[in-house]
Symmetry: C2
Subunit: 275 residues, 2 copies
């Protein structure tokens, strides 16, 4: 690969450029919507950096669409990374990329990933520590929380019903690929989480404005439960928790950003265990 | 105010609706751009929640534009809040609001604020603790950091040259009004911050991937210095710091989100002082 003549290569790419059939374009565009993602079990991963992370995580990718104008700019290492897709890679027109993209200014590469939907079992296929999010609707916050979870070695994120979809383009993008390294359970009622926690001796920490910072490291594996920025957690969840934890307000303001609160609380829990 | 007949009120508003002159509309739209914000010393504050915060902070507002369709939906308390603006309030058409708005789906209320640009003096008009941000360009991150600063009682944010503008609509919005409660210094070279810190016995903490978590509370007032998510801090800043601090990676991933790192580090610094 390393001694490719760029002129020859460009010629080669030009000859390979496919005009996407309308049905295929429609299928790819349909994945912008949750309904079709779950009908087909597929979702979009956009941008080279995210696709690299998916490859690194051995995440199943079905196909990759790339504009020759982007491919020409890639370095040798990046081209080698794409070579592993072999016949799964499609050179398409910039216009086609624009039509299937979830961004207003597409980078030029989009992959189709296979939705990996693990089934939550009460008698436990979770590894703790974990995070349980109750009716979270902001995709940017969910993505940022996943990125933080990965950084701190938290292995799973579980979402209640009525939460944002883990495979929505905005979540995928803001997770910066962390999605591919975590187990994401969806539509899990709090009661199921609680049964699982009870059966497996897992401590349930609930985040609340009234909570105090963690005083001592958790003595057992744990799950951190958080609600949305505007509504927090309902009473029945707060009362089920072993402990309510929070972040003291030394200044003023209504609330912290949800993903920042999550960052501080995960840090408290993880760091106290390690020191 | 409390016994207004809604029909009479609506009539009143209808008669008061102004068609904004083209020049005024152009002036308001020009404030989307940094250049014009600084030429005129004015910036836009959009949404009732933000305007409420500005009022709460006694922040100078020059005028308020509101669509009658929004005014009709306000409760008595919200109307009373707006009453304080008296002749500064203008009822305008929804179309005018759409044209001056910084959002694709405007809420219906926009205020013009007066840029409050304090001058940074080395012999100190800063109150510490503070945060110094080096070449930060993401408005969402800056806004979220300001919100966190306010929550923890950090009183000032100082920005290096080549940073995002504190008065850009996205920063204002994501700060959730914290902007009005903080001193924001802009275009301050790191050398000036350092001189000020030296003259005032202030500890300079620099955030870096190689840093370790804070081991003991700061013994003096401090300033936390952070760089952008992608570039971090340059060597000359890192070597000038009293101490390099960081957040241990117990899992994997390239980096944490900047505003989340800031949240964890500010928490470390503030909380260790208080406990």
């Amino acid at each position: 690969m390393s001694n490719r003549n760029p002129k020859v290569l460009n010629k080669l790419i030009e000859n390979q450029v496919e005009k996407l059939p309308k049905s295929q374009r429609q299928f790819l565009r349909s994945l912008h919507q949750k309904k079709y993602r779950y009908q087909t079990g597929r979702f979009l991963i956009e941008g080279l950096k995210l696709i690299k992370e998916a490859v690194l995580a051995n995440f199943p990718l079905e196909s990759v669409y790339i504009a020759p104008s982007l491919y020409e700019k890639l370095n040798e290492k990046e081209r080698q990374l794409l070579d592993i897709f072999q016949e799964k890679i499609h050179f398409v027109t910039t216009r086609d990329i624009q039509q299937i993209s979830t961004l207003s200014t597409p980078e030029g590469i989009i992959a189709v990933g296979v939705i990996d939907q693990p089934v939550f079992k009460t008698d436990n296929n979770l590894s703790f520590p974990g995070i349980y999010l109750w009716e979270i609707n902001d995709p940017g916050n969910l993505g940022a929380i996943m990125r933080t979870a990965r950084w701190f070695g938290v292995k799973n994120i579980t979402l209640s019903p009525n939460s944002v979809d883990i495979y929505s383009p905005k979540v995928v993008r803001s997770s910066m690929g962390s999605l591919f390294f975590l187990s994401g359970f969806q539509n899990v009622p709090f009661e199921e989480l609680c049964s699982s926690a009870k059966q497996n001796n897992v401590m349930v920490f609930a985040a609340d404005m009234s909570g105090t910072p963690l005083q001592s490291p958790p003595t057992d594996p744990w799950v951190l439960v958080m609600g949305s920025e505007s509504h927090g957690l309902p009473p029945h969840i707060l009362t089920s928790a072993v402990k309510t934890i929070g972040i003291p307000r030394y200044g003023s303001g209504e609330s912290l950003n949800l993903s920042i609160s999550a960052g501080i609380l995960i840090y408290q829990l993880i760091h106290s265990e390690r020191t």
